[in-house]
């Protein structure tokens, strides 16, 4: 998958984390997912249909997920992965896919977003259809630790490049 399709998701993730969750992050080196990929405790997943099909997944360890949602709610105290954390991580995924959508629409690639789903479970990993390539982008939330963005998209309309 061309970098021009991944970069909007990376900048969207940085922007959403900083703006809505007051969490500055740095991106690491992306890689193609083979096998299980990174393990996380909670993931927000958005399905995508249009010129691409596939899904966007943003996965967090428990502590970071709690901190992120607490920050979204202005510093509200949260002790565990409860309904508010699940909902908040789903909305983070929604905003990342939405902000990337705006950037991709500008270069002519439009898609529709599904309603977010949230997967919770200690050290889970998500699998994608084998014919859809999945790019993993690791991020470090400064002072908090690592989380992951997974972009698994397949182009429907061939591109002349």
């Amino acid at each position: 998958m061309d970098a021009k399709f991944i970069n909007p998701f990376i900048s969207a993730t940085l922007q959403v984390m900083e703006t809505s969750a007051a969490t500055k992050s740095e991106r690491g080196s992306l890689f193609v997912k083979k096998g299980e990929g990174p393990l996380t405790d909670i993931s927000g997943v958005i399905g995508v249909t249009g010129k691409f099909i596939g899904s966007i997944n943003i996965g967090f360890p428990k502590d970071i997920a709690i901190k992120v949602v607490s920050n979204m709610l202005g510093g509200m105290k949260i002790d565990d992965i409860d309904d508010s954390v699940k909902d908040g991580i789903g909305e983070i995924a929604n905003m990342v896919a939405g902000a990337a959508k705006v950037q991709l629409a500008e270069i002519g690639y439009t898609y529709k977003l599904s309603i977010p789903t949230v997967v919770v479970g200690r050290d889970h990993h998500l699998s994608f259809p084998p014919n859809v390539p999945c790019i993993v982008v690791p991020f470090t939330a400064i002072g908090l630790g690592d989380f992951y963005l997974e972009v698994a998209l397949k182009m429907i309309i061939p591109i002349e490049d």
């Binding site: 809505s20 908040g88 909305e91 905003m95 902000a99 959508k101 439009t110 977003l113």
Partner: protein
């Protein structure tokens, strides 16, 4: 002044409600999707709605409201900010647009301006 806040995310509803409260508005009805919002428009002076929601999305909800009510201000609060989406929303009767993500402070400032 009575507000209707429609968003499928309870986190987002809480952020919006907190911002309204901070501006001194406490008469607020919440809805989880467009269908629930449509049942709760009676007596509402101001509508704040998400776009991407299950059952009935925000745009469908706005169209349904505008069939009978051309006046009540409707603010779309959404990630759907591609140029065509904004144009579609405004053509269908949305009066103001707030793009997610935002900080609580910017949301409050924008709402304050719009409500005046």
């Amino acid at each position: 002044m009575k507000f209707l806040v429609a968003d499928d995310s309870s986190t987002m509803r809480r952020i919006i409600v907190n911002s309204l409260n901070a501006l001194g508005h406490t008469d607020i009805v919440e809805a989880e999707d467009g269908a629930e919002a449509l049942k709760n428009t009676t007596g509402v002076d101001f509508i704040l709605t998400d776009w991407n929601m299950p059952n009935m999305d925000g745009l469908t909800f706005v169209k349904a409201v505008r069939e009978k009510d051309k006046k009540t201000p409707i603010v779309m609060i959404t990630t759907e900010a591609a140029k065509d989406d904004v144009i579609t929303a405004i053509k269908n009767g949305v009066t103001n647009y707030i793009v997610k993500p935002f900080t609580m402070d910017t949301l409050k400032a924008k709402l304050e301006k719009i409500i005046k």
